[in-house]
């Protein structure tokens, strides 16, 4: 292993830790969950209410589950099922992605929704 190798590995690991800290320090318990398809907001649900919400698009369907303040994808007809197997999320900034359906589930804080409402 050369010196440059060690520097490279160190820099990459530090970058990983840096990004992780950046996201971690920002994260707090989320207020709502937003679902977007093709970058377009489909629905926003409060984390405080347990629900099952079915989203159908031209790509297929994903059933979003909100339970005890956590969000997961209960069922979907996508080919890879990565979104269904994804662990449940609850902190702001966390996402579940279903690439085949171009669907992103993201957790937002309470404040962000008000801000977005003003922008729109």
């Amino acid at each position: 292993m050369k010196k440059a190798d060690k520097i490279l590995i160190l820099v990459l690991l530090l970058a990983a830790v840096g990004f992780a800290l950046f996201f971690f320090l920002q994260a707090e318990k989320g207020g709502i969950v937003r679902v977007t398809v093709d970058g377009e907001v489909k629905v926003e649900l409060p984390l405080s209410e347990d629900t099952l919400y079915n989203i159908e698009t031209k790509y297929g369907y994903n059933i979003i589950q909100v339970k005890d303040g956590y969000v997961s994808i209960h069922e979907a007809d996508c080919r890879d099922q990565i979104c269904v197997e994804h662990r449940k999320i609850h902190l702001t900034g966390e996402t579940i992605v279903c690439l085949p359906h171009k669907l992103v589930v993201e957790i937002l804080g309470e404040k962000e929704t008000e801000y977005d409402a003003v922008v729109r």
Binding site: L8, I82, T95
Partner: protein, 164 residues
């Protein structure tokens, strides 16, 4: 093209496709979209050192196209292609500087493969929040890249002793 090279191209391309298949058979918990072991990169790194840049480029391209069509379907092809090209460019650049060993080159390849894929994924879903996964991808990229570099170095030693 030299006759021996034709055989090498075919052999290494087949091995790279095989590695991609083996990787699919290993059930790793998918924490993050785009996370991969990158076993096929073992072959690409070996070719980069055992043959040359041109050979590695063609074999990488053939691997992505064929395994995309064989296993992943056309949609997955875009991600693989972005990842493979991005990682390949970085590996070639680092190798050219002559400051890095095969280990560093492989680590950079692993990391930038993941970064390339997540950039394309973020573009496809039109959501920058995918960058949330970046730290995980960086970390696993370093880990798998290092293991792959070690394997490639061992294999290369054997190849050079017996086949050059």
């Amino acid at each position: 093209m030299h006759r021996k090279n034709v055989a090498y191209y075919g052999l290494f391309a087949a091995l790279a496709i095989l590695m991609g298949y083996v990787e699919m058979l290993i059930p790793i918990p998918l924490l993050v979209p785009g996370m991969k072991l990158g076993l096929a990169n073992v072959i690409i790194v070996i070719v980069l050192y055992f043959m040359d840049t041109r050979a590695a480029f063609f074999i990488s391209l053939v691997r992505v196209l064929l395994s995309g069509l064989l296993f992943a379907g056309f949609a997955g092809l875009l991600y693989s292609l972005a990842g493979a090209l991005f990682s390949f460019c970085i590996m070639v650049l680092l190798k050219k500087t002559d400051k890095f060993s095969i280990l560093g080159v492989s680590v950079a390849g692993g990391v930038f493969h993941n970064i390339g894929q997540i950039i394309v994924a973020a573009l496809v879903v039109e959501n920058i929040r995918l960058m949330y996964y970046l730290p995980f991808l960086l970390f696993f990229g370093v880990l798998t890249g290092a293991v792959i570099g070690i394997v490639a170095r061992m294999t290369l030693g054997y190849l050079k002793r017996h086949f050059s």
